[in-house]
Subunit: 313 residues, 4 copies
């Protein structure tokens, strides 16, 4: 994400440097404020209000990141329109950031290169600069985008579309982006442990109207260009994974994953009339997990000629 | 494919070594019979009947592979039950083939290795051998599978499922496999030119109920482990590819392809409420093209939390 | 269904006239054979073989209709090709039936009229007669269709499509129809009690990526032109019906049902941008339940602009 | 719809009493202002600004309702936050309206009865009154809902969900409702002629991977409890309706429609293995048309065990 490199964990930081949620809240007030004060860009007042209302005030016990996020979000939501505008305006200008990328050392460019913004052509940079000015003029706050490792395509696509939305829609939308940034910073700042989230799957054969039993499925982890085989399953008679969730506990981490469904093999079992080169053979299904506390059910509904999926729970 | 390596084109064969469909039918009868006689395994009588009925008889003019395949298929279909059984029995035993793989030279193993059958473990080989005997005993003909580059998983999955089907279902099914082999051999034997098939795409945003305009899409060619970027598009206001079909003419070849839809970028345009790590960001959609003469329409219906596709036309 | 009016229950028959499955099998052999001998058209040998193999032979205990059906089906499956052909040929000619409808008394016509065959125009009758002859000539057995209350459109559509299928496909297919008739006759002949089947629902909001909580749903029973409101639900936080299955036990009966999903009301909760006349407001979703022993899961995946459903379990 | 009975056309008004769009704009300024001044509730300033900017100013030529709506909407969008708030506050309180329903004459109750609000129980009325107060207090403007013929369920569902949204989301959302009311009033006020919208269909068989040819489809018009058969089609080889759009020109009117797809008949053609009571037989698919100027493509993707649809174009 473009706006918050400073508070993201360094690679060399060992995992135990980060507190779990209960550990943080066992610390003194000043430590808590120092820690949470960086979550909203240049807006430590949110952490302060949060502390007053929820820690000192209602004395709530926070056990996971989601609870902290919800409470901090509600502080933002209940603040006045002027405070919200101040929050938005506290964010840096993306254009300035892009300019600074021009002068990066080669090494840094590669590092930042993930975001792809250093690869903007002159034409693209000119286009972005123009849209960025229009955006700020139209709405009165800088363009904010909460997409970690955003490519230049994402940034250009986003600003192009958002610059022409209605002011009230975009005001609400920009606050949503700020919330997403806070969420990602919180996730990165805490050591997640004892999380309740898990991942399940289900395969239905919509041509035969029954669970797809005996289908081989791989689960892969995607990281940049890499795709690493993580687990392999054969569906049971109910079309589900034997042995419960595919991921749970410490294995269930925020990130990008991919199922590979071997549907060609499956349909060969029933001598289904497919073609020589089957329309569907190995189906990759890529999806992101964003919350360590939720149930992700990512099923496949499949015939030899169609498939669909959705985020279930 | 397991059954027809002998008549598949060698790599070193130059493209012009293969005739187009009209070129074949301008040759003398004996050449035509020699050419088509190998399409059905050890069953040159099918080519002969085909010649008598369609070339000498009705004097049909064949212009593409699909027409030849349909005519030859109809010869099989109109033959008697006994002839059909003979055709099935003319196919080699897959078990014998697997045994022979054990004694292959290293080089050949690599070459054949695509089929994955040389990698059967002893346990798997024993299982397959048992099922193969059961199959032949139950149905009276060998197990036939028309899947080029079939992995051992496909073969095991197929025989396991098919051995317990009803005799009449499996009789019909085995003939279907024979037809698929013939189709693949015909495709490989001819030089395809002036084909009428083409590939199109369409992206619909099911959350907003409109075409997904301005979405970046890649088209990749998949070959084994390799995925090669072939083309890139930005959808127009109608959610379609600008400039017509993604593939047509000589580019439209039988094989495996993959769209990559950059839906994360697209939803960023409208500041859609997605998560920090979006559930759907880059969607790979892998599909096979099996006929050079057909229209393949492979669309995407997508919301930030679900998608589906199908073979359209 | 066209072929088995005789053994369908009369309206005036009280429910207790029909035995449950265990009650039948507590009777003497001759009663069982008399009862099951009518299940397959003029083919009481199937009941006899069934009795020898499963009742006297393996001494299986039958507790529900599905088990009886599976055992009788396996008798058919294991019989020879000649026996199967004989079974098919034992079925009456549909054409003769249609002719006889012309001479029905008015009253009977109304009664039979559900099937719609008495409403064939002369042109349609001529078309059917011609296809019927072609069918019998091509396959060597009469056209058999297992659709209760089939309209003339169904009959014409079916014969038109099936007359041009391959002989082995249609041989397998005709046996499938015979099986379906047996299934429907068995269902109608027994008193179903203590059945294990049940009906569930689930609504997912694919625009928001979460369960659709608080959606009103009606369940209606469809009988001919009538649609009778049967139950009403409000989905819980998980998008499911509160209080478990919508139907179970005696309420879970074979027949046609319809969900009505009030999705317009649901999307109004979140002020979703829909149109003045919403594209989707009340969604009727009609489905059939065919087996008293199975779990029917009939969910809705819905955005303001799209929806899908499937038979789950 | 709850808010605009006064400007909706009376039944007895003949069609020619309403002007077409070009006819209105050929009238004097005062007539135009009188006509459009009622579109936004007690906010004739919007029509005035619209006139100044678009009619006198840029001299645009308006040919259809959509263009008028877009121009008037842009006036609202460009107005200041204070003006927008004033617009929202100009709307009547729904609670007062509901109270007044109690004292309606019988006749009026029937007329208003479509909205179902006169059927609120005391408990429901109390609940609504409470939520309505909360809403106004929280957001500073009355609860506005643009749903013609809204049932009490819709109203309760909407206010319950919307009262807890964030202020900026609900501010944007309430303006969206105001826009929808304007749209419906404009539609009702003009005589629509020469409209460009039309309705098409397409049926795909996702089990066989091909267009569903020869399927019977009905198109019905839904009006309250009534469902009137309007047209009947048989799909062509491409799975589309023969003869072009199902509705176009004067037949293409805003309202609620229903396709009936006879999929049971269709699958009978290929002897597809369905159940005795098919899971899917006659599929009703109900949808709304909201704009006379747009293309509505409402397809069916169907297997014997699943189906989906979407708003296409």
């Amino acid at each position: 994400m473009l706006k918050f490199p400073s508070c993201y964990p360094k690679k060399e930081m060992t995992i135990t440097d980060k507190p779990s949620v209960p550990e943080l809240f066992s610390k003194p007030k000043e430590d808590i404020l120092a820690f949470l004060g960086k979550i909203y860009e240049h807006s430590s007042w949110i952490a302060e209000k949060f502390y007053d209302e929820y820690v000192e005030g209602s004395g709530e016990e926070f056990t996971n990141v989601q609870e902290v996020f919800r409470a901090m979000s509600s502080v933002v939501e209940k603040s006045s329109n002027e405070e919200k505008l101040t929050l938005l305006q506290a964010h840096p200008d993306l254009c300035a950031k892009i300019e600074s990328l021009k002068n990066l050392t080669k090494e840094s460019q590669v590092e930042q290169g993930k975001a792809g913004l250093s690869t903007l052509t002159d034409e693209e940079r000119a286009k972005f600069t123009k849209l960025n000015s229009e955006y700020r003029e139209r709405f009165g706050f800088p363009f904010i985008l909460a997409a970690r490792n955003a490519t230049k395509y994402t940034v250009l696509s986003a600003i192009e579309g958002r610059v022409s939305r209605s002011p009230e829609d975009e005001f609400a939308g920009a606050l949503y982006q700020v919330g997403k940034i806070a969420w990602m910073r919180l996730l990165a700042a805490f050591r997640v442990a004892d999380n309740k989230g898990f991942l399940t799957c289900h395969v239905l054969d919509t041509a035969a109207g029954c669970p797809a039993a005996g289908m081989r499925i791989q689960l892969r982890r995607i990281s940049g260009e890499n795709s690493e085989l993580f687990k392999e399953f054969i569906t049971n008679d109910d079309g589900r994974l034997p042995g419960g969730p595919a991921l749970k506990g410490d294995e269930f981490q925020v990130g990008t994953y991919e199922w590979i469904f071997f549907v060609g093999d499956y349909f060969a079992r029933s001598n289904t009339k497919t073609s020589g080169v089957p329309f569907l053979d190995e189906i990759p299904l890529r999806f992101g997990i964003d919350s360590p506390e939720e149930h992700y059910h990512v099923p496949l509904l499949v015939s030899p000629w169609s498939f669909s999926t959705y985020r279930g729970s």
